[in-house]
């Protein structure tokens, strides 16, 4: 039996994870925390005299609220033994984003959660969701990457990706911890029914046109939010710590993904893109909006998920594609197979 804490449960991936764990009978209690008010989707979970799901607003980037959370009576009574760290979605760690303790918020949150997970005696298992954009992407339209592929430690990487790398390395450092079993799941672009896209440095964030590199159309590995939730569930029941790539069955070019998610992608020559990106950095604009000249706009990757198949017994069970909705419009849909 598990009692779990889910961070950023008010955001789409967190919501999906809470929903999946709610239907898992081995999970007795779910403490969900997030920045905002409880999502409407939780109404059914939060009802009843002794709900299995409790929700609270906690600013995970600051020490005091996180400390209060891990020392709270509810946390202690629930005997939480598993922490699921769902990161902040979208382009949060860009220049100008909130900085906590000198770090981008996402990095500060990862540090706080891990530190308190290590210090709390009941917590024995930590599952962290990371991004697969931490890898150094070799030249080419599509390259296969496995867990031992090199990380992109180039100091020139965009701030958004650098925060992912920082988070990754924070958890990576505790993978061999004897007391706390740390599982790090690296996921590529996450899509959800309706055309929503998360964790992609180019497409995530508010809808609107994007600028991409002319002459390049990199392949993007996709995974549905349902498969991510299934992978998290598999990870909390697994007793194998480690780093695992998680991906779905589909991989499509960036232009197709932009079309599926209803974002216009305007191709620009490389030189112009570099100039625009540098100018945007100077004025503090988000790279996700104006584009950046990073390798992720030129080179694509797909993920080798054999380790997750072998150790976590995870297999993607959702297909992603366009389907005609009731109003006749084609929309991105995810369907179980």
């Amino acid at each position: 039996m598990k009692s779990v804490l889910v961070t950023h449960a008010d955001e789409p991936i967190g919501r999906r994870i809470v929903k999946t764990l709610y239907h898992d009978d081995e999970v007795t209690r779910i403490l969900a925390v997030g920045d905002g008010p409880p999502p409407r989707a939780f109404d059914r979970f939060l009802g009843g005299p002794d709900p299995r799901v409790l929700y609270a607003r906690v600013d995970l980037a600051r020490h005091r609220p996180v400390s209060d959370l891990f020392h709270s009576g509810r946390f202690r009574d629930a005997e939480v033994d598993t922490v699921i760290y769902v990161p902040r979605h979208g382009a949060a760690a860009e220049t100008g984003a909130p900085i906590a303790a000198g770090l981008p918020e996402r990095t500060a949150e990862a540090r706080m959660v891990l530190q308190h997970g290590l210090e709390t005696a009941t917590v024995r298992h930590l599952v962290a969701l990371g991004s697969a954009f931490v890898y150094r992407i070799p030249p080419g339209n599509a390259n296969r990457l496995d867990e031992s592929s090199e990380l992109d430690l180039d100091p020139e990487v965009p701030a958004e990706i650098r925060s992912w790398i920082d988070c990754d390395m924070i958890f990576h450092g505790e993978v061999h911890n004897d007391r706390l079993r740390v599982v790090l799941l690296r996921v590529p672009t996450v899509v959800a029914a309706g055309g929503y896209v998360y964790l992609h440095p180019f497409l995530a964030g508010r809808p609107g046109p994007r600028i991409r590199a002319l002459g390049y159309d990199p392949i993007c590995a996709l995974v549905s939010d349902k498969d991510v939730a299934c992978a998290v569930r598999a990870a909390i029941h697994s007793r194998r710590p480690g780093i695992y790539n998680i991906a779905g069955m589909e991989a499509v070019p960036l232009s197709v993904l932009a079309r599926w998610t209803r974002r216009a992608a305007l191709p620009l020559p490389g030189a112009l893109l570099s100039w625009l990106s540098a100018s945007a950095r100077l004025v503090g604009a988000s790279a996700a909006r104006v584009g950046s000249d990073g390798p992720h706009l030129r080179y694509g990757f797909t993920l080798d998920t054999r380790r997750a198949e072998r150790d976590l017994d995870f297999r993607p069970a959702t297909r992603i594609g366009l389907a005609r909705a009731g109003d006749g419009a084609l929309r991105l849909e995810t369907a179980s197979v």
């Binding site: 339209n141 599509a142 070019p253 297909r319």
Partner: protein
């Protein structure tokens, strides 16, 4: 009996709650849950009005029946389960349902070629129509007539030894590389696709430099070529696919006319991967490619300055501009040699011995050189 020390919970310091446990420190973020519902009073008022009764509270979802999980003891994790890998496969040409001819592509190609394309199209499943390396059957179908015309009319390819290509499972075609522009790879792909049944799509392993070129990198990927990284090659062989490698690399295409039909040093990575994946190595010789763009001189300082692998001077380049890079209409002859089954003798552990790997790479080089020498005459 433990003595209570002042400051550690002695008299006067109540650190326990009602149940006797440790008291929660700080503000409980879940404490808000215990506060009275501000809407409760209004709901009571609403419930007194029969016609405007408030909606019942949402019913908690019913949990599913628990899935039986194998009972496991804490401590050592269970042993990892072996993966069942399904090899990528295409249906035999005779079993392919051929749709009615439509469009220019179908009019240009014969029935066999259309059947081959239809069979190769089944390598990719699902909505996306791209495999994990960006291969797109629709792009291949659109580009195939042009390359087939080059194959039949321009290079007039003749080939032999197809029986040496295994019909399934991992295998590595090892070939010589020459001719400035990699038409040898394209002709090799067309030849293998047309002469294997079920049709096999050889995945040409290309240099990383090609992956940096705009448009070229996209076309290569859509046509089924892959960049030669360790992960790509290992994954493809593990998936039972057929690789076409040019172990000479860039040294092959920039060799001068004086080195014609003389193989350059082979890289060794393909041997390591073939041993690990238990894949046979099939020597493959392209006769004619060394004559398509004879390089008189390679201006290496210029190539370095421009970031190019080669800055050639040929009888036609740069005198005719970019047109001078086009290959001469030489006749190709493609020969497949007998498979070298190094894995049967040395096993996967042989890949860890650098001297053995170098020796086997030289053996493969000799086999290709021997094929070249025999068929040139």
């Amino acid at each position: 009996m433990t003595e209570m020390l002042p400051g550690n919970g002695a008299a006067g310091e109540d650190l326990g709650d009602e149940e006797g446990g440790a008291r929660a420190l700080g503000r409980d973020p879940f404490a808000d849950l215990a506060e009275p519902d501000p809407f409760a009073e209004k709901l009571e008022l609403l419930e007194r009005i029969p016609r405007l009764r408030a909606a019942p509270p949402p019913r908690p979802l019913r949990a599913r029946r628990p899935r039986p999980r194998p009972a496991a003891e804490e401590g050592e994790p269970p042993p990892a389960r072996p993966l069942h890998r399904r090899w990528a496969a295409t249906p035999p040409v005779a079993e392919v349902d051929l749709p009615e001819p439509r469009g220019l592509v179908d009019r240009v190609l014969g029935e066999h070629q259309r059947r081959v394309l239809a069979s190769l199209g089944q390598l990719v499943e699902g909505e996306a129509s791209y495999d994990r390396y960006g291969f797109s059957p629709s792009v291949m179908r659109a580009a195939f007539p042009a390359f087939y015309a080059l194959y039949r009319l321009y290079f007039r390819v003749k080939s032999s030894g197809h029986e040496n290509i295994p019909s399934e499972g991992p295998a590595v075609l090892v070939a010589n590389h020459a001719g400035l522009l990699p038409f040898d790879g394209a002709m090799g792909v067309v030849d293998v696709s047309l002469h294997t049944d079920p049709p096999r799509l050889p995945r040409s392993v290309v240099d990383k430099w090609a992956g940096t070129l705009p448009w070229i990198n996209v076309f290569y990927a859509r046509a089924g070529q892959v960049i030669g990284t360790r992960e790509n090659v290992a994954d493809l062989l593990d998936d039972g696919q057929l690789l076409l490698v040019f172990p000479e690399g860039m040294d092959g295409i920039r060799k001068p006319i004086t080195q014609r039909y003389r193989l350059q040093n082979f890289r060794v990575g393909f041997i390591e991967h073939a041993l690990r994946a238990s894949a046979p190595i099939i020597p493959m010789a392209f006769v004619g490619t060394d004559d398509q763009s004879p390089i008189l001189y390679d201006v290496k300082p210029l190539a370095r300055r421009l970031g190019l692998p080669v800055a050639p001077i040929t009888p036609t380049f740069p005198w005719l501009g970019p047109l001078g890079l086009l290959p001469y209409p030489v006749s190709y002859r493609i020969v497949y040699g007998e498979p070298l089954r190094f894995h049967e003798r040395f096993g996967p552990q042989g890949a860890d011995d650098p001297r053995l790997v170098r020796y086997l790479a030289n053996q493969a080089r000799r086999a290709v050189q021997s094929l070249l020498d025999r068929n040139r005459s």
